[in-house]
């Protein structure tokens, strides 16, 4: 039955399901703000999921898993950065290459880890607060990574809109020529943003295998990377809006399971489609509204070559 208890548990699961999306969306937001379009999120996430899982098994420490998942994400992001910033290659193509690379590598090395059990990251029930009716369950029964994600969104918002670094990142994404003309090192800014972005996307992947699903299977990201690309647009390249977007999509994701359990007569398969359909609608909407009006960085995906007419 759909009652208050059901809603509370749905909201709590939305946050859990939305957290990996939030990490990846924040990472991609930072990357895109600097003018680099990294379509490789799906590949970076799955690599993060696998690396986190494997390192947790090997070391027995899930937090080391998370850290190494970030490094793995960074490594893939470095490939993308090298191709698109140093070699000025076509960014969508390089991004797609990263997707295939990530899925391929993890499929190959991950085979022996299927069905294994790692040390996971478990929820902590915050004393007193978690026993508040409804609110306690929704807000105070999560694992530390879920809380860190929200703090991270705030930090990223502060960095982008309140500091010189943010000004330089945004300028690099809007008009790199202008940034260059006042001595901002555009390539350096783009490298750093892409690498940190990749780190966050990798953590998003580790969250999937170590905290959310608590298992490893091949291709377990199941298109979440693509959803995050839409989420970046949906949130208008604003970290603070990414929080809501990620939880909303997380909610759509878990809704199918929850409704199935209550015996509502909607096809499970139809419900599973919902997040992807909404993704398409968001993309469609953003195309109709035109990117600029939606807040896309003006030079997103355009390589910067000094002295060339842009």
């Amino acid at each position: 039955m759909v009652d208050a208890g059901f809603i509370a548990s749905l909201l709590a699961s939305s946050i859990r399901a939305g957290t990996p999306l939030l990490y990846a969306t924040l990472g991609e937001t930072l990357t895109e703000r600097s003018g680099i379009l990294n379509l490789g999120i799906e590949g970076i996430m799955i690599t993060g999921a696998f690396t986190g899982f494997a390192v947790s098994i090997l070391t027995g420490n899930p937090w080391l898993g998370v850290l190494f998942a970030g490094f793995a994400g960074m490594a893939l992001a470095f490939i993308h950065a090298f191709f698109s910033i140093t070699l000025k290659a076509n960014q969508p193509i390089t991004g797609l290459m990263i997707v295939l690379l990530g899925l391929g590598i993890t499929g190959f090395f991950g085979r022996s880890y299927i069905g294994e059990v790692a040390v996971y990251i478990n929820p902590i029930h915050i004393p007193y607060l978690s026993s508040l009716p409804y609110v306690g369950e929704i807000l105070f029964t999560h694992d530390p990574l879920a809380y860190i994600a929200v703090i991270l969104a705030a930090v990223l918002w502060f960095l982008l809109f309140k500091t010189r670094y943010g000004l330089e990142i945004i300028a690099a994404g809007e008009n790199p020529e202008a940034a260059d003309s006042v001595g901002v090192d555009v390539d350096r800014i783009r490298y750093i943003s892409t690498l940190i972005g990749g780190f966050l996307v990798g953590i998003g992947g580790a969250y999937l295998s170590l905290a959310y699903a608590k298992l490893w299977t091949e291709g377990m990201t199941a298109g979440r990377g693509w959803i995050c690309l839409a989420l970046v647009i949906f949130s208008g390249w604003m970290p603070q809006r990414a929080v809501l977007g990620a939880y909303l999509f997380g909610g759509l994701d878990v809704l199918s399971f929850k409704l199935q359990a209550t015996g509502v007569g909607i096809s499970y398969h139809l419900m599973r489609m919902v997040p992807y359909v909404v993704t398409i609608v968001v993309l469609l909407f953003s195309v109709i509204r035109k990117r600029a009006a939606f807040g896309a960085p003006a030079s997103l995906g355009v390589p910067y070559i000094r002295g060339r007419k842009q």
Binding site: R164, L167, A298, R306
Partner: protein, 501 residues
């Protein structure tokens, strides 16, 4: 007076092209030094070398008595050199303050100390009379205001030498006056200014001394007070130049083009042309003055048939052509503002570009009759003196002036009833400008109607019979040339309203 800057024997090559060939430039402290030359004379290259954007192949730079070598703009900025580029280097979606401090470290770095920035800007505003709202988003500013932001950006960094690259190109006459006033007051406070231009009148009006470049070489440096327009023109072009296009008296004939209450949308879906009406007669040149971006592009495209108007009518010789496609409007010759993007197919050959509109005439069964086309193309190249390595070179390899001649050759040779010429001389050298204006005047004398759209007021006044001013998509007054003066046209261009007398 001591020299603040000396550039000695600067050589800069791009492949086989020598853009700067042993150029020398000596600038005194506190002066406005004009750098005069035609397009492609190497002015901007020289300044980019100074500003650290390019590295010189030979030569040395001495700034404030020390030999310097700037590897990037950052080095030049920290040495005290600022540059306002021809194309503004602003981030449209940021506000003025953010643009001003981009790349700068305020005392609370990495946080941004707004109070500190505000008080510093306030002092600068008082000192130099530059007034600007710090929290306005740049994309809402006028071009003149954007330029003030650029200047403010440089002053904020305490520059000692300020380079301005063609700063008046986009301004209305009134804005030019206030810019000149601000520049003079800046030099009084000890600032040195290098003023790049190809306009003789401006160089004479605002500078103290002028260095002239021609084809990448020094021609000489003169004291402004001791020179004349004629002497400068001779230095710039290398021969005497006739400054006027003779305009014969023409009897105007029947009405050729009539535009009635035309509304046209821009790419973003807003109205760029709002209820424009006018008409042009045989033999008449109708000039539309206005700062770029006030609906000129949409208006010309609507008349040429590239853009469908939302409302209103376009009549050619009394026939309604509002809804006809480009091909059906073959009595209209179109010399577009964007010569390479719209006027040409740059990777096709000169021959193919010349015949672009006449392929149907040269069909031989399923294929084209290249022999006949070549014959005709040779005639056209001769008649319009297009300089090209061969008929089969890609059009993109031609120089700016020759590209425009090629377009004129194709368009004017088809004996049009109406010519739309948009910014037809922008970026051309003196000889090219002269040629294009002469051709337009000749065509009108033969009975063509000419619609001239231009930002260059000299051009509008030189060859138009009637002058209209466009502002934010509206025609703000149509006048006979004899009744018009710069003052009044400039006032209307800046958005002023005509007061009924």
């Amino acid at each position: 007076m001591e020299a603040i800057l000396e550039m000695r024997n600067i050589v800069k090559r791009f492949g086989d092209v020598v853009a700067n060939d042993h150029v020398n430039l000596k600038v005194r402290k506190g002066e406005i030094h004009g750098l005069l030359g035609e397009n492609g004379a190497g002015k901007t290259t020289l300044m980019n070398v100074l500003y650290g954007i390019y590295q010189p192949d030979e030569g040395e730079i001495i700034f404030e008595g020390r030999k310097v070598r700037f590897k990037s703009p950052r080095d030049a900025i920290s040495a005290g050199i600022g540059m306002v580029h021809q194309h503004f280097m602003l981030v449209p979606r940021m506000n003025v303050l953010q643009n001003v401090i981009l790349g700068y470290r305020t005392p609370s770095d990495p946080l941004i100390n707004h109070k500190w920035v505000e008080s510093k800007v306030e002092k600068l505003s008082e000192k130099y009379g530059i007034d600007i709202a710090l929290y306005e988003v740049v994309m809402n500013l006028s071009v003149g205001e954007e330029q003030r932001v650029e200047i403010l950006k440089a002053l904020f960094r305490d520059v000692k030498l300020l380079i301005l690259d063609e700063p008046t190109a986009v301004l209305t006459p009134q804005e030019v006056d206030s810019l000149f006033y601000a520049l003079k007051s800046m030099t009084k406070s000890g600032l040195t200014i290098i003023f790049i231009t190809h306009k003789l009148k401006e160089a004479l009006k605002v500078t103290d001394r002028i260095t002239v470049l021609r084809k990448g070489k020094n021609v000489g440096t003169v004291i402004t007070a001791e020179t004349s327009e004629r002497e400068l023109a001779r230095m710039m072009v290398g021969r005497d130049v006739v400054m006027d296009v003779a305009k014969p008296e023409v009897e105007f004939g029947r009405e050729v083009l009539r535009v009635e209450d035309l509304w046209v949308k821009d790419d973003r879906g807003g109205f760029a042309v709002k209820g424009v009406s006018f008409s042009i007669r045989e033999g008449e040149i109708f000039g539309i003055a206005g700062v770029s971006g006030n609906g000129q592009k949409e208006l010309e495209e609507a008349i040429a048939g590239l853009r469908t108007p939302a409302r209103g009518k376009i009549l050619l010789d009394g026939k309604d052509i509002t809804k006809l496609g480009v091909e059906k409007r073959n009595e209209i010759a179109y010399v577009p503002e964007d010569r390479i993007g719209v006027g040409l197919a740059p990777s096709l050959s000169v021959l193919e570009n010349l015949m672009l509109k006449d392929f149907k005439k040269y069909r031989k069964g399923l294929v084209l009759d290249y022999e006949k086309m070549e014959e005709r193309a040779k005639e056209l190249i001769e008649e319009f003196s297009v300089k090209t390595p061969s008929l089969h070179s890609p059009a993109s390899t031609l120089s700016g002036g020759n590209i425009q001649r090629l377009i004129l050759a194709r368009e004017l040779s088809r004996s049009p009833r109406l010519i739309i010429a948009s910014q037809p001389t922008r970026g051309l050298d003196v000889a090219g400008i002269d040629y294009v204006r002469r051709r337009l005047v000749e065509s009108a004398a033969k009975g063509c109607a000419v619609l001239l759209i231009s930002e260059d007021l000299d051009e509008i006044f030189q060859i138009s019979d009637r002058i209209a001013v466009i502002f934010e998509g509206e025609i703000r007054g149509i006048m006979e040339r004899k009744e018009a003066d710069y003052e009044r046209v400039g006032y209307l261009m800046a958005g002023g309203l005509e007061v009924a007398v």
